[in-house]
């Protein structure tokens, strides 16, 4: 065994889990799928005194239609998104995005909430939450609160979660039936984190774009919403979109970084091309329809 010693608890309810986190005063870590945490434990980069396993917490699981949208329990496994007819029909972006999260074997164990709460800036699900306007439900012994995904991320692997807080749900607002998902990412190999990527959704009403949500992966310290690009899209028909102008506006709002995978300049250049190409494909679909 490689991890440092810890005590293990598998609470049956959210309130028990919150109690454990509160009593640990910062010494506890939550484990869901463990597909990121287990390596960190094995490498001893994470050394909690207490591990709180939410896999036996029934309230934390499942995908359900709720008033005004769809709620996903954080302990819902990623493969369940791929198999959810509700999501295929109502939020196709999530289904497309999860195909790019890790590998078949890690999606069988990894969870939606784990990816959301980790806050890897190159990850697909946090970007989807920001693009689609999701709300993160948070609980602790002090009470509950809801934070928009766009305000949830503070920096790489940093979120507004306090040490005693637990993500208890991710609620996606309803998007109109037939809205268009937009997904494009570049990774060195399938299953790798994106070097750069963009996700989003466009809703049309009477032929004009009535709602647009677009967010970047790996173009800054957090997933970034492309607000100026969204404004350029609103009110236009698909044929009226200027993909290049929208892509340039979207890139102008980013703050990409140089790292061992690639450079900031590469991310800007390729990011603009990915978004412009994805928009051109949507335009072509619009003409064909």
């Amino acid at each position: 065994m490689k991890p440092a010693p810890f005590d293990y608890y598998a609470p049956a309810t959210i309130s028990e889990a919150c109690q454990l986190l509160s009593e640990a005063s910062g010494g506890a870590t939550v484990i869901a799928g463990g597909q990121t945490l287990m390596p960190l434990l094995n490498l001893r980069m994470s050394q909690p005194f207490i591990l709180v396993d939410i896999n036996n917490t029934a309230e934390m699981k499942g995908i359900s239609a709720v008033d005004g949208g769809i709620r996903i329990g954080p302990a819902t496994r990623q493969y369940e998104v791929l198999e959810s007819e509700l999501l295929v029909e109502r939020l196709p972006l999530l289904v497309e995005a999860v195909r790019h999260v890790g590998h078949h074997q890690t999606r069988n164990r990894g969870t939606v909430g784990g990816s959301i709460a980790l806050g890897e800036p190159a990850a697909e699900l946090p970007a989807c939450a920001v693009a689609l306007g999701a709300t993160i439900d948070i609980a602790s012994v002090r009470g509950t609160r809801q934070v928009p995904a766009s305000e949830f991320y503070l920096g790489p692997f940093m979120t507004v979660l306090e040490p005693d807080e637990l993500v208890t749900g991710i609620t996606f607002p309803a998007w109109p039936a037939g809205h268009l998902p937009l997904f494009s990412e570049l990774a060195q190999r399938p299953g790798d984190f994106a070097l750069v990527g963009v996700v989003g959704a466009l809703a049309l009403e009477a032929g004009k774009i009535s709602r647009a949500g677009i967010a970047w992966m790996a173009m800054g310290p957090t997933p970034l919403k492309a607000t100026a690009a969204e404004q350029l899209l609103l009110g236009k028909s698909l044929a009226e979109i200027d993909p290049q102008a929208v892509a340039e506006a979207a890139v102008a709002e980013t703050a990409p970084f140089d790292d061992k995978r690639t450079s900031a300049e590469y991310r800007r250049t390729v990011g603009a091309r990915l978004l412009a190409r994805a928009l051109r494909e949507l335009t072509a679909q619009g003409e064909a329809a």
Partner: protein, 167 residues
């Protein structure tokens, strides 16, 4: 540090153990239960050699704690062949297609393929090849593994797909 009693089914037999919380499922299977066909390569979820099935789904046993497998049904590569030594279809196809050389990654590859192509499952070649991205093989150049995956996908699709495949 806490210790936990666990009970689980491994390759059709009931096992129980008393494990330290930090024991990985892979270590429990190898060191306590004796299933050394679970190969540990990287121990942080990259190589895929330790892949097993838990309740029918392929997962990396190095990324799971033994205590989390309490009550689960686990199958390792040792659990595939019949008692009389008759190979599992996945093992037979991989042997015929020369899909292994040193054999280190093989137990993991076999388990992913077996989980996708078992009885009554339909899986396209693209799905199987996609799942193979979760395994690293340093010997074969993957071509034998791909041929095995293609044959297994073809078999899994059943008669209708095979007729379609002729067209």
């Amino acid at each position: 540090m806490s210790n936990h009693k666990i009970e689980l089914t491994i390759n059709g037999r009931q096992y129980s153990g008393d494990v330290e919380a930090r024991t990985s499922l892979a270590d429990f299977l190898r060191d306590d239960a004796g299933f050394t066909g679970v190969h540990l390569g990287c121990e942080h979820g990259v190589c895929g050699a330790c892949t097993i099935t838990v309740d029918g789904r392929a997962v990396r046993s190095c990324l799971m704690l033994a205590v989390q497998a309490n009550g689960a049904t686990v199958v390792t590569a040792e659990g595939l062949a019949a008692e009389d030594g008759t190979l599992h279809p996945v093992q037979q196809v991989m042997m015929e297609e020369h899909a292994l050389q040193c054999g280190f990654c093989t137990p993991g590859v076999v388990m992913t393929l077996a989980s996708l192509t078992g009885e009554g499952k339909q899986c396209s070649q693209a799905q199987i090849e996609g799942a193979m991205s979760g395994h690293i093989c340093r010997c074969t150049g993957y071509q034998g593994i791909r041929r095995s995956a293609a044959r297994l996908a073809y078999d899994a699709m059943g008669d209708s797909a095979q007729q379609g495949g002729d067209a």
